[in-house]
Symmetry: C2
């Protein structure tokens, strides 16, 4: 059927257009039949426009309009009119005008949708995902995808302006033996061999530095075959960045420049740079997290010095060993009931704590189950160190350092929630966390693992401890944290083969193993690798935060569910025998 | 080791910088030791800069420079000097100045590369691909990747400016039963089920139109598991575009706007738009190809009318049936030897022709093996129809229409090559080919297939023939052809369920089969699908042509070889048993 392409979209007509003859294309958003007159609100990606069908004005169209239902696709021609006084709709940008119909063409009919195409919806997410094509008609989802598009554009313009070039790295790449979470792709041509989908283009971007590309970025899909959580997807998008001849400061400068633009263009806020920085140790001590949410003002305090000579056995053990005693003040919570305190004790026990020490702050005293084990001086010191006032509640946890700190960090966030310390409109908090440990000790296998990856450079002043005391070696690694979420992470890489060998040795990786696992990269390094480093942004999560959403699925057009399926196209799915035969595999 | 970040790159110093103290980072491109003085040409992505080590100027650095070898990575500090008269190098943009060394830091050493890092190279491509990190240091490859980056940026800016939004579609999607060339990805979580990698985001982009996104584009990786040819890769990049409420003209306008930008920004040429158009039938008749290379002026001519009443049996059969008699004039080739003609006959026979009819044009006569079967009038008509002159050579092929025409099309290109009709600097030729057949008849399975895909709309005036004479139905499908390569192809889609059913019926696809194969798309269409259409560009091939290269591997950072392997990372590769076990598959 023949129809005319719109002269205007549904969001742009204003009083200045009054009298113009216009063509609109779009969907019936709502239809009100007032007996005599029919009003259609017509919708497209750009907005909503009211169209008026008056029998005295155009009888044929009015007659036709009786057939219209929600979500019908129509093309209309008509004349823009100033709405009669009193019928303006201030909620719509187009609300001062409407279009008097001349001609209506129904381009397509529509079944009644399983849920209304409105922002406010309480429909089950599974239904939304099954009918994603309808869910994406909701203005909020359209806004989210448009914002995401804008973030792509801002990112690319920014890196282009700064001499970065975008290079596509392979999606079909080599599987790494330790790539336990690799997606594998059987080769049809080469029986028994497999490609892997990249968990990140890490090795390729380092190769690009070796090849002199100098400044590389890419917005790129990565893949990890792990069980999904609320904020993970099998496939996810990264902004991947790598630069040559740089140290950490150069990378921070580039990243901060991009974040300043996002703040301005998405949130209309001025981001003050340079950003605050916390070392990993500071972040753990004060916030019990390597991705602290600074919107919450609660801070943990190290109490080890208070108990240097304590006779309380539990604390004694920690002070003498490598443990920590950490305290948190919950302002004004001195009236928490025993029941409330039990719930919080359960909370930390579930996270692995032995128990939770709590103290109610009274005038000149602490009321607490463990009070009797503490000296008056210790009690006084606790109160002064935590800056506590009568009516406050104190929590103390002790134990192995990282474990105790991170449990207290979780309790801190729990208290922030209970005390409503993070308002929805709170100023966003962005910071760097730096100086991560290079190695992570695994109690189970009794060995060190690279906390970031084996190409991360140690701090040069710590290199000497790589053999003798790996645990104290810090990495030139950094995370960018926004509102308590890690939105980017990176490091300066090792570019020197001797240091790389040292690193492999510390990780217990033999030369042959290294050659087998990372052969093409370590070989490349022999031909003149420049000093280099980089960072990768979790684009989905960042988009989620900028959109003000609480699930990344709200900023992904076609996400998988938490059980790793796509409800819209019903994948993964079975495939015919022959297809598997072609690929030389069978199910077992 | 500590070094300073460059103040300038290696390509930007000019006479105005003379006297400045500068820091450069880069690679040793060449080193000339003239006994007393050592000259280093230092290279980065931006250019080449000469650095001078004079013992009288800085003895320590001169001494150090003796250790430098090609591809060492260095940081230097020094002072920009106007080169002494007579030593300028006009071949370099920086050739009027050099840098007198103050300080040299060797950041990394380098083994001798297996081939020189120069544009001119005769090294085997397999070696280049194995050492891709060195191959990519060659300025030509760097230029190609930078041009490719520029094409991304131009594309995205253009579509953004025109209200398109970029949406990422899934890489892990549903395998289609007929997706014989799908890459499959076993699901770990769902035993016996598989994802497929997209051969194109076709169904998702149509879904996005149903969801009201209005104008979509994406630069996206697609995958096809087929045997590779010179210009194919397992993974390839598309510019994918879809628009709502449009017909062919709207799409042409958008595409032509983009091509005009590429012409200007990459080639510095003015592209005159609107572009010329040929229907599929015209292209086949005149050029024997649906992607004609118009840089070659040779045109084929239909001779059916000459032989309407011929007594020559071979032609009679074609004229009476649905066959074709097509002629091609090879100007000035009347002196071709019998041997040359035999070679050309072999050429067409290999393509499936029964033989090749040739005629030498003489004054008032045609010299040809078949001359005796032709009447004088026929001969006269051949000469006049082909506009032949004495000294020319004529070729005639007859047979089933598309087959004979396309063989003659190949002969046309072969003659263009032999006669050097396409100069390397010939003006590029860009055109639309339109009105493709909707169906393609397959002789083997005796049924019709969709030439494009089953969602392609027929021309509305041809719908009536879909049941009665499918072969004559033309599609609203179009290709964009540059210098004889299809660089983009698309169509207006069917948005109406009745027409879609008709299409499935014509293809012999039952309702259940359609539901099973395309269920989520056909279902989506029931909820108000707008009229829509789109196009997809083969980005790699287009980049290849704009870069003036003859293989797409020259514009892809890390390509696979023609035997579907990556020589650099040696993939695909075997994987451990346990990995397969996790995925519930085994090799068989």
């Amino acid at each position: 059927m023949s129809f005319r392409y719109r002269t205007h979209n549904c969001g742009e007509l204003r009083e200045k257009n009054v009298g113009e003859h216009v063509v609109l294309n779009g969907w019936v958003d709502t239809r009100r039949d007032l007996g005599g007159i029919i009003f259609i609100e017509m919708r497209d990606r750009y907005g909503i426009m009211q169209v008026v069908f008056e029998p005295t004005f155009n009888e044929a169209a009015h007659h036709q309009a009786k057939d219209l239902r929600n979500e019908f696709v129509i093309a209309i021609e008509g004349t823009v009119r100033k709405r009669p006084a009193g019928t303006e709709n201030p909620a719509l940008p187009t609300g001062l005008v409407d279009v008097m119909i001349d001609k209506l063409i129904i381009l397509n009919e529509a079944k009644t949708p399983p849920f209304p195409i409105k922002d406010e919806t309480d429909v089950n997410e599974d239904i939304r995902l099954k009918y994603r094509y309808l869910d994406l008609r909701r203005p909020r989802m359209q806004h989210n995808l448009m914002m995401r598009h804008k973030m792509y554009i801002l990112t690319r313009e920014y890196f282009d302006r700064n001499n970065f070039i975008e290079v596509e790295t392979p999606v079909l790449m080599k599987s790494t033996p330790e790539g336990a979470r690799d997606f594998l792709v059987p080769s049809r041509v080469h029986k028994g061999k497999f490609f892997a989908l990249p968990q990140s283009p890490q090795q390729y971007k380092q190769i690009l530095m070796v090849s002199g590309m100098d400044r590389y970025f890419q917005i790129v899909k990565c893949f990890r075959d792990e069980d999904l959580r609320a904020d993970r997807q099998l496939e996810f998008t990264q902004i991947d960045v790598e630069m040559s001849f740089v140290d950490q400061e150069n990378i921070f400068e580039v990243v901060e420049g991009l974040m300043k633009i996002f703040y301005k263009e998405i949130w209309n806020k001025e981001l003050s740079i340079p950003l605050p920085r916390l070392t990993f140790d500071e972040a753990m001590e004060k916030y019990g997290s390597d991705k602290p949410d600074l919107r919450c003002s609660l801070e943990m305090v190290n109490l080890n010095h208070v108990f240097l000579n304590t006779s309380f056995k539990v604390f004694q053990d920690q002070v003498k060993g490598k443990g920590v005693i950490t305290g948190l003040l919950a302002p004004g919570c001195g009236d928490y009931t025993r029941n409330q305190l039990d719930v919080l004790t359960d909370f930390v026990k579930k996270l692995g704590a032995g128990g939770l020490i709590w103290m109610r702050v009274k005038e000149n005293d602490l009321e607490a189950p463990i009070a009797k084990f503490l000296s008056d001086e210790e009690k006084k010191n606790i109160v002064s160190t935590l800056n506590a006032k009568p009516g406050d509640l104190l929590f103390i946890l002790s134990g192995p350092r990282l474990k105790a700190l991170s449990i207290m960090g979780s309790l801190r966030l729990e208290m922030a929630k209970r005390l409503n310390l993070i308002q929805p409109d709170a100023d966003p908090k962005l910071l760097w966390v730096t100086d991560f440990p290079l190695f992570e000790w695994d109690d189970e296998t009794k060995r060190y693992y690279a906390m970031h990856h084996p190409f991360t450079s140690p701090r040069l002043e710590d290199v000497e401890f790589m053999d003798t005391d790996p645990g104290r070696v810090k990495a030139r690694a950094y995370d960018l944290v926004l509102n308590g979420s890690e939105i980017a992470g990176g490091s300066i890489r090792i570019h020197n083969s001797e240091l790389q060998s040292k690193m492999f040795k510390a990780l217990g990786i033999s030369d042959e193993e290294a050659e087998h696992k990372f052969g093409f990269l370590t070989n490349a390094f022999k031909y003149g690798a420049p000093p280099h480093g980089g960072i990768a942004f979790g684009f989905d999560r960042m988009a989620m935060i900028f959109a003000g959403e609480s699930s990344i699925r709200e900023v992904i057009a076609f996400p998988k569910t938490a059980s790793a399926v796509s409800l819209m196209d019903d994948s993964p799915s079975t495939v015919p025998e022959e297809a598997l035969k072609d690929l030389h595999i069978k199910i077992c």
